[in-house]
């Protein structure tokens, strides 16, 4: 009996031990945490341990735009802009052979956007004003008749050719539409013609004999890209439509894709689409998987956008990447079975929201360390329903259990808690911070220790003529200026829109809604209202009075459908879209004298300062805390990290000029070199366009910053609730002060 009991206890103990080990093993394997935690979307840069795709830059010596093609025999062919030079590579881009292109002595080919290599070596392309053309290497052209296009050219109708692609030795596919603009303006944009042109059956050799078969695909307009592979063609959707795969021969719908754009297709009929930072593969049986996670690759970086991709022999992938929206580079992705991961270069990065700077740094560090394994977890990704508090709670649990991420991107999380409680590594001596503006770094240095480093920041600022700005040096002066100025300028009436408003009739400021006003006011005043664990009621009162005065003056609690929220314009690198606050839009439209906004983007700032009707200048927002700034991204290393050196290397990569110079629209670079590099990029562009250079002294502006504003969402949320009620007239200022005092009291007391 005793033996039986001992055996039972031993077995139970072993079972428990095995379970515990198994649990630890699962958590420690470095893969993304999706299955384990369920609330974080993880993306692993570097692939699985048993092999991964390796990126190789195979760009031929071309600066600027590149037209890349793959011949039927797998030869890579690239042309520079204007088809002046041709590069051929028979070894997947390892070496290139240069030869004069057909445009070497002919300027007609500068606008060529798409072309196909015919089996006889000629190019089939579309020439503006000439129609479809077969182009020989020596520059001789032969017209390729397509009746509708030729008629459109003859009649002067607008038309467009968006794809020319060789299907096989006998067929070439091109996509065109005629009078596209007219169709675009109509409610129903259907009627896209997809026509396959091929030889008569049995014919080989040249392609002079043409049989036209027309496939009409209704309801789809290929605004989101078009690609073909096997017997299928995928058409990208536009205006809310999803992309779809059709049979080339019949035009019948095979399947819808849950995406709007397509990137390429292979001979199996699989369609590749670009979703966020990754390339997805859609098989014809409806299966979708992540083919290439862009976190580790150039096409997934903030500066790059995949323009086209093609699968060539041995499963190699060629991706043509548009960098900064200005020039192309070619990359080859090859599956490396032997790729291994260095355990000392395995780190995980956590951030509340997706961060382009982090992605850019991952791309860069992975290129420098191909044996690294970097996991990037985004707590609030779009495909889960996790709240901020849930995300932080989960993060805390992991940190306390010693299984937290190695690098914390503290964007909206309780930074001081992590730093003060010893959860973050002292970065002094580990990370070179000499390039950072020291006044931005100083607030985070405590007794010589540095636990978090700002990597991006914003400046709450006021933009306007020097004379206007000089008159509003304080918050009270700003409120007085607004109250004594003109009421809100009507934007969409008479000549108000685009035409500007006479200066004497302009309002001082404009905000799309109360939230926009509150955000900028809170950013500029929060450090004075809540200092440490103390609430300054007088400062709070002054803040509330000014906010209410401006809100009342401009009727911000009324619904303003024309300018509610923000407008969207595209600025900066990669053609990425940034949000432009309504206050700036009205300033740019010359409807207000000043614009209030948080400076996150030098391109945007330059555009605004170049409004052209005065002496535009920028000053820190005249709040109660002079020199307030917002650390939009802070980075720290977990004290429990197993790889502190590589984690530090990653932080240094975040601060490198290559990463800092990219204009993400999320914040300004914290390094001098980053600011200078961004200004250089802007000025290069301005020089090309003969426009005014960026001449504002950013260093001088940044030197005036000294107080980081609290970025924690809890406190801001509590104040916002009361401010909203105050401005709606449901509370008076004293009532609002009391309410905030009451609601914040416990918040502050908990921290004391």
């Amino acid at each position: 009996m005793k033996k039986w009991f001992v055996c039972f206890v031993c077995a139970a103990g072993l079972l428990l031990l095995a379970t515990a080990c198994d649990g630890n093993g699962e958590r420690g394997n470095g893969t993304n945490g999706e299955a384990e935690r369920g609330e974080s979307r993880g993306v692993e840069a570097g692939g699985e341990r048993s092999g991964r795709y390796v990126e190789v830059d195979i760009t031929p010596p071309i600066e600027g735009r590149i037209i890349s093609l793959v011949a039927r025999d797998g030869t890579l062919v690239a042309f520079d802009e204007g088809l002046r030079t041709r590069y051929d590579s028979g070894d997947k881009g390892v070496t290139w052979t240069q030869s004069p292109g057909p445009g070497a002595s002919d300027d007609r080919f500068t606008d060529v956007q798409s072309a196909a290599l015919l089996p006889d070596g000629r190019l089939l392309l579309y020439l503006q004003g000439y129609g479809m053309t077969k182009l020989s290497q020596d520059g001789t052209t032969e017209h390729f008749p397509v009746a509708e296009i030729d008629d459109a050219i003859a009649d002067g109708d607008s038309h467009n050719v968006s794809l020319i692609q060789l299907l096989d030795d006998q067929r070439v596919l091109f996509n065109y539409n005629v009078d596209w603009l007219t169709r675009f303006m109509r409610e129903n944009p259907s009627g896209m013609n997809n026509i396959t042109h091929g030889q008569s059956s049995g014919a080989t050799g040249n392609q002079t004999e043409v049989r036209t078969s027309e496939v009409r695909v209704s309801g789809n307009i290929a605004g989101g890209g078009i690609s073909s592979g096997g017997n299928n063609i995928s058409l990208g959707g536009m205006f809310g439509q999803t992309a779809a795969i059709h049979d080339i021969a019949t035009g019948n719908l095979i399947s819808d894709l849950e995406t709007s754009g397509t990137l390429g297709a292979n001979n199996n009929g699989d369609v590749f689409t670009l979703q966020g930072h990754s390339i997805l593969r859609h098989t014809s049986d409806g299966h979708i998987d992540t083919f290439l996670d862009g976190t580790a690759f150039t096409f997934g970086s903030a500066s790059g956008t995949a323009a086209a991709m093609q699968e060539i022999a041995d499963g190699c992938i060629i991706v043509n990447v548009l960098i900064h929206g200005q020039y192309n580079r070619l990359f080859r992705y090859t599956w490396d079975h032997d790729a291994h991961v260095n355990p000392e270069k395995t780190i995980s990065i956590w951030s509340l929201e997706d961060n382009e700077t982090v992605r850019a740094a991952i791309t860069k560090i992975w290129r420098l360390h191909p044996d690294a394994c970097i996991t990037y977890e985004i707590a609030l990704s779009g495909d889960n329903a996790v709240s901020v508090s849930d995300a932080i709670r989960t993060l805390n649990t992991r940190l306390l259990s010693g299984r937290g991420p190695d690098i914390l991107i503290l964007d909206g999380t309780p930074v001081e808690s992590y730093a003060n409680r010893g959860m973050l590594l002292d970065l002094t001596g580990r990370v070179d911070v000499s390039g950072i503006y020291q006044n931005l770094l100083a607030p985070y240095t405590d007794n010589g220790r540095l636990h978090v480093i700002p990597t991006q920041f914003m400046i709450p600022a006021l933009l306007g003529d020097r004379s206007e700005l000089n008159a509003v040096r304080t918050l009270a002066a700003l409120a007085d200026s607004v109250i004594n100025g003109n009421p809100a300028t009507p934007l969409i009436s008479g000549e108000g829109m685009l035409g500007g408003v006479p200066k004497e009739e302009r309002a001082q400021l404009h905000f799309g809604d109360l939230r926009e006003l509150f955000d900028i006011m809170w950013q500029a005043n929060a450090p004075a209202i809540v200092d440490g664990n103390r609430l300054d009621s007088d400062m709070l009162r002054a803040f509330l009075e000014a906010t209410k005065a401006i809100s009342d003056m401009y009727g911000l609690t009324d619904t303003n459908e024309m300018m509610a929220g923000s407008s969207f314009l595209s600025f900066g690198g990669g053609g990425r879209v940034n949000t432009v606050p309504a206050s700036l839009v009205t300033y740019m439209l010359q409807s207000t004298n000043m614009g209030a906004f948080a400076v996150t983007n030098l391109s945007l700032l330059h555009t605004m300062m170049d409004r052209g009707d005065g002496d535009a200048y920028i000053e820190p927002f005249p709040g109660l805390a002079p020199g307030a700034w917002i650390p939009s991204t802070l980075a720290g290393i977990s004290a429990d990290t197993a790889n502190p050196d590589f984690a530090a290397a990653f932080i240094e990569t975040l601060l490198s000029v290559q990463v800092q110079q990219i204009n993400h629209g999320l914040g300004l670079p914290v390094t001098r070199s980053g600011i200078a590099a961004q200004i250089n990029l802007i000025n290069e562009m301005m020089r090309e366009r003969n426009m005014t250079l960026f001449g504002f002294d950013m260093d001088a502006l940044i030197a005036r910053l000294n107080t980081p504003a609290n970025i924690e969402t809890t406190l801001r949320g509590m104040v916002w609730e009361t401010v909203e009620r105050l401005c709606q007239g449901r509370l008076d200022v004293e009532g609002a002060v009391r309410e905030i005092e009451q609601s914040i009291r416990n918040y502050l007391a908990e921290r004391s």
Partner: protein, 291 residues
């Protein structure tokens, strides 16, 4: 607990020990992993820094004692328990007695009173908002009878809203406990009282109440424990920082965890656990004495 160990020891001496231990091992293992070890870790963390590396002695306990938020939360929690538990016990006992007196409909109402326990928290939260919002049903009724609207969630009224919720949700459960206790009272006692000429009040005072004393212990302890579960509703309706009157210890614990203030959280949790244990022991002692 000591009785349980005595029984085990007796069985061990009788030779049934290995079998008894084998049967107890799974549940003991579960309790150890999910309760005892976390409890020990919590107590330990109260004496260590956040990372659990450096011993800091009583620093966290002193800080907790001096913390204004803790004092407010502890006072509110105590007040809530002091108001709610007697109230709930009285109301649920009254309900149980009422149900027993209307026997034909008793079974139907018994089920009805249990329904609040089956309502999901999310639904309760929606109900709260519909009832107690600034423009909610309660204020509409008040306006109809000519009274000023009440900011239920932003004033001292929030406390009473919480009390109401607690009573509404737990009344059915306690009522079932009381009914079980009442069913255990022998009918002969009532017949004897009736024969002695006792009226209903006297029967209740001298027969029912004394016989219910064991049930009082169970009901009061469960009510106390259930009073901590009302936090879910409070949190979902009013968030992490509600009106002062309903700022409970659980709010503080939650916020300290969010803020990674794990040392103070552990110290406060340990203190709360000790306080609860003392209260339960005192109650047990009191009830045992009465028994």
């Amino acid at each position: 607990m000591s009785k349980a160990f005595a029984i085990i020891w007796r069985n061990v001496r009788k030779g049934d020990g290995p079998a008894a231990v084998a049967f107890l091992a799974p549940s003991f293992g579960g309790i150890s992993v999910f309760f005892l070890l976390p409890l020990i870790d919590t107590v330990r963390r109260g004496f260590y820094d956040v990372r659990g590396v450096n011993f800091i002695g009583l620093e966290s306990y002193i800080s907790v004692f001096n913390n204004q938020a803790f004092r407010l939360a502890a006072a509110n929690t105590l007040k809530f328990a002091a108001v709610c538990i007697p109230l709930l016990m009285a109301v649920s006992l009254g309900t149980a007695l009422l149900l027993r007196s209307i026997k034909p409909l008793g079974r139907f109402f018994k089920t009805t009173f249990l329904l609040p326990m089956a309502v999901p928290v999310a639904s309760i939260v929606l109900l709260w908002q519909a009832l107690f919002n600034e423009n909610g049903l309660a204020n509409t009724v008040l306006a109809h009878v000519g009274l000023e609207p009440v900011a239920f969630m932003d004033s001292g009224a929030a406390f009473w809203v919480l009390v109401f919720t607690y009573l509404w949700k737990n009344n059915g459960y306690n009522m079932i406990l009381w009914l079980a206790g009442l069913d255990g009272i022998s009918e002969t006692l009532y017949e004897a009282a009736h024969a002695d000429g006792a009226n209903a009040l006297q029967t209740f005072r001298y027969v029912t109440l004394p016989c219910l004393l064991p049930t009082v212990g169970v009901v009061s302890i469960l009510s106390l424990l259930n009073s901590f579960r009302v936090f879910r509703e409070a949190y979902l309706v009013a968030g992490a920082y509600p009106n002062d009157s309903m700022y409970l210890l659980q709010h503080l614990f939650n916020n300290w965890f969010m803020n990674l203030d794990i040392s103070r959280l552990s110290a406060a949790a340990t203190m709360l656990g000790v306080a609860l244990l003392l209260i339960i022991l005192v109650m047990r002692g009191f009830l045992d004495e009465k028994d």
